[in-house]
Symmetry: C2
């Protein structure tokens, strides 16, 4: 169990104390200072360190547990949780998982890779600025040999410097990024397009067939991390979600 918590907890003095504590700890988790598995100090320690009553500290921790950021067990204490492997909306994040959940054998090929400043056309397609260096990759993911989805991705190399030397030989970049980079926000858009002939050939479908295009961009704080376009043969894929009138179920 990781147990190094060098950073001191700093309250910002604005708003209720319990919320200051909640935000302070949340920030330590989200910025990576307390990685998953880290032991959070027990309530008594936080109480002394922060000069708040135990119930106030408790309230902050209970909220964080409710948000899924920490796990709490009696006697064992409180630890930083790992980001959940699957949400309804996050199920599409890991393509190997997606394929295996269908009971198929996963495989992938890197079709191309090129590093450097993006061309005008590439910058346009991914809505990024041309000044920053990126890695530009194309991949084909397969399920039991059959083409599953075509991926085109850029990775911002100054946000994720380790990606410069990573070859993605054993882990596709999407999963590698989940493990080797932090992200705080993602935006995705789903649309329907007709397959261009080059893409259709790779996916083994007829040109012009309808495909689902998932475009996703992720950021850490304000810095862009990666942007990806995933092209799914429409006849074989659908995205499913569940919710209730007041939000997710």
């Amino acid at each position: 169990m990781t147990d190094t918590r060098g950073e001191a907890i700093r309250l910002d003095g604005t708003g209720p104390v319990y919320d200051q504590i909640r935000r302070a700890i949340r920030d330590l988790i989200l910025d990576g200072s307390w990685p998953p598995g880290t032991t959070v100090p027990p309530e008594h320690a936080l109480m002394e360190q922060l000069g708040a009553s135990r119930m106030t500290v408790h309230r902050a921790l209970v909220q964080l547990a409710g948000e899924g950021l920490i796990n709490r067990r009696r006697r064992s204490g409180t630890t930083v949780a790992s980001p959940p492997a699957s949400h309804a909306m996050l199920d599409i994040l890991s393509i190997p998982d997606e394929v295996r959940r269908l009971g198929q054998v996963y495989g992938y090929d890197i079709l191309s890779r090129q590093d450097g400043r993006p061309s005008a056309e590439l910058a346009e397609r991914f809505a990024v600025r041309r000044a920053r260096p990126v890695a530009h990759l194309s991949l084909l993911h397969r399920g039991s040999g059959q083409p599953h989805v075509l991926e085109e991705r850029i990775i911002h190399l100054d946000t994720v410097p380790d990606a410069r030397t990573e070859r993605f030989a054993t882990t596709p970049p999407g999963d590698w990024l989940l493990q080797n980079s932090l992200w705080s926000q993602a935006e995705h858009a789903i649309s329907a397009v007709a397959a261009a002939s080059a893409d259709a050939a790779l996916l083994g479908i007829a040109p012009g067939e309808p495909c689902l295009l998932v475009e996703r961009r992720t950021w850490n704080q304000e810095a862009p991390v990666t942007a990806v376009r995933l092209l799914y043969p429409g006849a074989r894929h659908r995205f499913v979600g569940r919710f209730g009138p007041y939000g997710a179920v």
Copy 2:
């Protein structure tokens, strides 16, 4: 301000008291006993009625407020909230809103309506049983005169009996159902299909063009309420969502 709260609050004795209170009030709201706008008794009253301390009642109410089910204001008291008009995922629920958000003038036509037990083909398409009577509708929604989306819907008449006599002359069925029926859960699936020629003609696009197909089914508790298939011209539409590693942002 509505203020009739006939039902007594019943605790079920299982789990923590604050959670019993939270669930009891939540259920009164979700099953319609306390419609939006109803005044929730003040903490002191609940405290006496339920035999719990004020802080315990408070904890339950604070949680419900966090879930968006109630609104609380000092001195004014606590009232049952209206279901939010828009969530990232719910933005697609009201087509008039969707159209107006694009700055267009909304309009719609009812293309057909037929009530009765569903045919085998219809039951198959919407994954419903044939035993129950439904209303079967087709509509075309327009934005500033242009076709926006083609809707095909069934409404379960024994779950929503008022729909038998409603003509949907001024409000399309999706919005009418939001106001005139309760729902606790929805499931939607998004896929890409090629436009059939009849649908293409109605949407003003070429046959075979890619379209986004949104299929949504909603239930109240276990009872099916409605099921709808929405066909969007793919070139003109995309669905956008935002989230963070621990859930919605």
